[in-house]
């Protein structure tokens, strides 16, 4: 079946999965680039669900100032979702529904802003579009605090959670150091990271050498060895007077069990974690007798736009703009990715990579990033991580002392199809 090249049409942008401090900067990049090219941009309300339900938002109803303010507003301005499309074989109807919605609204470019799962969805959509004779360009746009996307040097969203984590580790450690003589000896910070210890590793930027915090980092890449952990904590307290531990939520024991399995699962079948820090704290108390405190910032870490990395905010915007460039250049099934040119000074550029090389893959930390004893980061890790937290991108504040985050109007596009019956 011959495919007609679109001479006009609309662009649809959707946010997917866990949001970040800078995903809206990507949205701003997309919308501002589309406007500059004279292309009408819709957004899907609550991610791919909005596309399935034909619940579309006309971003043309938003002012220039509102779109510009997305650059410094955390969360997902159009709503995101955890909804994984089944395989083409298992539920072809869902993919066909999406094409039907796109056809009804003359959507010719679909930009899907997410992680590995979303790259897979965008890839499948590009295939089914072709199969159904509907000319559609699908572009994945990288986003994840987990920094686990293949091909790209780093993932927009990660640099800001990395910076938040390093700053928080530094600040809380100054607190602990002040009080250790009579109070808390061991402080445990639990950070996100199910399978890859990128965020935990970033905490390592807070200090240098064995006496500076964090003294112990626990990576999901390593099996948690209780005896070695306790020995390291004890030695640190005896030498330094106190000890800061940064633990990835995803650490497991030698039996492969998560240290803190909350017992529930999200829509992707991932175990919902939380509670490594109190588990470790109880262990420290019981086995070493030290007074402890622990913190679990949870969503605070990935929404902390007030402490965002300038590099991260700029890259998030750049991939949004590049995604529009790719789409309008007629590319399909690709993702704009960050390419590192040099570490110091840090230089980077955006290129495009095939979604097929990204979908459903997971980038682990290189083994060479974890110190030999398993509890710290190496010089190679520092070289990689350090540039990603550089620069501040402080949001504007109101006279009320709070950041001026924007809430969009999110005006609905009139529906043209019958309701979706899953």
């Amino acid at each position: 079946m011959p495919i007609r090249r679109p001479v006009q049409g609309k662009l649809l942008y959707a946010q997917s999965g866990g949001v970040t401090a800078v995903i809206n900067a990507t949205a701003a990049g997309v919308i501002e680039a589309a406007r500059a090219r004279g292309v009408k941009a819709y957004a899907a309300r609550n991610g791919i669900l909005g596309a399935l339900r034909e619940d579309l938002i006309d971003t043309g109803k938003e002012s220039k100032a509102a779109i510009a303010a997305l650059r410094h507003t955390p969360g997902g301005a159009f709503g995101s979702c955890r909804y994984k499309l089944k395989s083409l074989e298992a539920n072809r109807a869902e993919y066909e529904r999406l094409i039907e919605v796109f056809r009804a609204h003359d959507i010719r470019w679909f930009l899907y802003n997410g992680g590995n799962d979303s790259a897979d969805t965008a890839l499948k959509l590009s295939q089914i579009g072709k199969a159904m004779g509907y000319d559609l360009r699908c572009i994945g746009v990288p986003k994840t605090v987990d920094n686990d996307l293949a091909v790209t040097d780093c993932c927009p969203g990660f640099g800001s959670v990395a910076k938040y984590t390093a700053i928080s580790t530094l600040e809380a450690s100054l607190d602990v150091a002040s009080m250790a003589e009579t109070s808390t000896k061991v402080f445990i910070l639990e950070v996100m990271g199910r399978h890859a210890g990128w965020i935990a590793a970033a905490a390592g930027l807070a200090g240098n050498g064995p006496d500076e915090a964090p003294h112990v980092i626990l990576f999901p890449e390593n099996v948690f060895e209780e005896a070695a952990f306790l020995a390291k904590v004890k030695a640190t307290v005896e030498r330094v007077g106190w000890c800061t531990v940064v633990a990835s939520e995803g650490i497991r024991n030698s039996a492969g069990q998560f240290l803190a399995d909350a017992g529930t699962h999200d829509a992707f079948g991932h175990v919902q974690l939380g509670g490594v820090a109190p588990t470790l704290a109880a262990l420290v108390k019981q086995k070493l007798g030290y007074k402890y405190h622990w913190a679990l910032p949870d969503y605070l870490q990935r929404s902390a736009r007030h402490a965002a990395s300038k590099v991260d905010a700029e890259q998030a915007y750049a991939v949004g703009k590049a995604a529009v460039d790719c789409a309008l250049a007629g590319m399909n099934a690709v993702m704009p990715v960050i390419v590192r040119i040099s570490d110091a000074p840090y230089r980077w550029k955006v290129e495009s990579a095939p979604l097929a090389k990204i979908a459903n893959r997971e980038k682990k930390m290189p083994k060479g990033f974890i110190a030999r004893d398993g509890f710290g980061i190496t010089a190679a890790a520092r070289r990689y991580l350090a540039p990603l937290i550089q620069g501040e991108a402080v949001p504007p504040y109101g006279t009320d002392g709070l950041p001026r985050y924007v809430t969009l109007k999110n005006a609905a596009v009139e529906r043209k199809l019958p309701a979706w019956r899953p």
Copy 2:
């Protein structure tokens, strides 16, 4: 016994109890004011313990730049401690030891930077000095994130934790709102506050009206009523789609039990808390079936100098400077306090108040600050709280993307006395 007026002598500054994001700004105020007046300033290492042990620091060894950098460095630069002196009757020897140390180093002004307990210690020391014929001026300097000191309109340290809490509530709620359709419906943020709900109340500044986060604030001033709490959460999720709860660590049930009693106690006999958030989360899951997330920032909240309130940082500096002015003016057993002149525009000044009116008292939130249904703040609370988070006092950042916090040399003063044998 006649008391000789000191014509010369030294000043001793000590930090007490939990540190804050701006306690070092107070230290900067003290040291810079002392330098300006030509008075030598010592600091006690690890608070009152350093005074008992004759472990004193000569702040004269620090550069002007290092002292200036204290204005933006969190934690306690000289070390703090949780060590409560017993009553004069129970352990007069401790008070006499302090006077002995002061006498050995010609310390004529003692500035004690802490909360209600420390105000009590400073008051007792002023009395024992008099009784022992040693001319000593004791000045309390206010500091506590708990905002529970009597007389002063607010406490240095509170404004910054208030700002951090309001910003974090706002940011995490934007995250939850984006994802609520398919993911977390209820987000619970646990904040500090054993007996008074000031920090929890400050979260209320993040939003306005019943539909904006936080939707539910749990105050230690109220008995926790499970049924009313669950009903409010359920109604909010049904109306708004999601619900943000901010819970004070100190909330108790109708039997007077803390919802999350960790079972351990600190040096002051206070129960060490932590874990209200997971307790509430489990309740929400079990009774309402909603997916939840919870955060417990712990020390992150009180050390978050990167997000400090400008008003708070300025007041912290001002009370340090005023404490020196009081001391050198010959005042004794007083504390510089913040007096509010007007709400909008916010105007304030520093006056002095007798320690006898402050020691061991605890300021609760006015009943009129809590909304009638018990789950929010009133317009009166907003009028009081809003000015305290105004303005940003962003610390300088290095090219590494981290705030440039200072670590002092803390050079020890030579000992003149035998070791302390408690």
